[in-house]
């Protein structure tokens, strides 16, 4: 029963990670590539963390005392991914916009007008 839950979590995580890197190849400009390469890998890594936490808690419940620390450390790694990954993506997007890369086939650029007012 526990193996099925772990297989489902690992399947979702690995599928979203592979879709993220596939979108990195297929999308036309920086901003859509950032959308694929950051959101999908964050979601997939969270589900991989869920699988490892479930595995650690299950082994701990079956009597292997040291496996609880695998679950706890993986939980902290998941928090680190959750905090750092979207922030880094935001920084890259803003830096790409300020260094002059235009979105492909964009019609309206609201950030350009807003930053022009502030300067």
């Amino acid at each position: 029963m526990m193996w099925e839950i772990i297989y489902i979590f690992l399947g979702i995580g690995v599928a979203f990670n592979m879709l993220g890197s596939l979108g990195l190849i297929r999308f036309p400009d920086v901003y859509t590539r950032l959308h694929a390469g950051t959101k999908c890998t964050t979601f997939g890594s969270i589900f991989i963390c869920f699988a490892i936490i479930a595995y650690g808690l299950w082994r701990w419940y079956d009597g292997e005392k040291e496996m609880i620390s695998l679950a706890i450390h993986t939980f902290f790694a998941m928090i680190a991914i959750l905090l750092t990954n979207p922030t880094g993506a935001h920084a890259i997007a803003r830096a790409a916009h300020r260094s002059g890369v235009k979105p492909a086939r964009a019609v309206v650029d609201d950030l350009e007008a807003k930053e022009g007012e502030n300067d």
Binding site: L24, I25, V30, L34, T41, I52, A77, I92, S99, V101
Partner: protein
């Protein structure tokens, strides 16, 4: 075979796909996006490796790698937009 090892091999395949974008990328932000994706995938791979061999030290290394790669990404972004963060 251990399911965590199979998942690790698939994550490494997606790292290889992301390396193609780092090599091809027409602009510098494209390469930075590829590098950021590779960082996240390597963190997931380290977690899977630690679970496959039941070695908790790899999970600790993954936490430190996550924080250090975040700092690296912020510095590259600061360099790209011209010093002002």
């Amino acid at each position: 075979m251990n399911p965590f090892m199979i998942a690790l091999v698939l994550v490494l395949v997606s790292v290889a796909i992301a390396i193609i974008r780092v090599l091809l990328g027409p602009t510098v932000p494209d390469r930075v996006v590829g590098l950021d994706t590779i960082n996240t995938l390597v963190i997931a791979g380290m977690l899977l490796f630690g679970a496959a061999y039941k070695e908790i030290i790899y999970v600790d290394v993954a936490i430190v790698y996550a924080l250090l790669s975040y700092i690296t990404t912020l510095y590259i972004a600061k360099y790209l937009q011209g010093g002002k963060l």
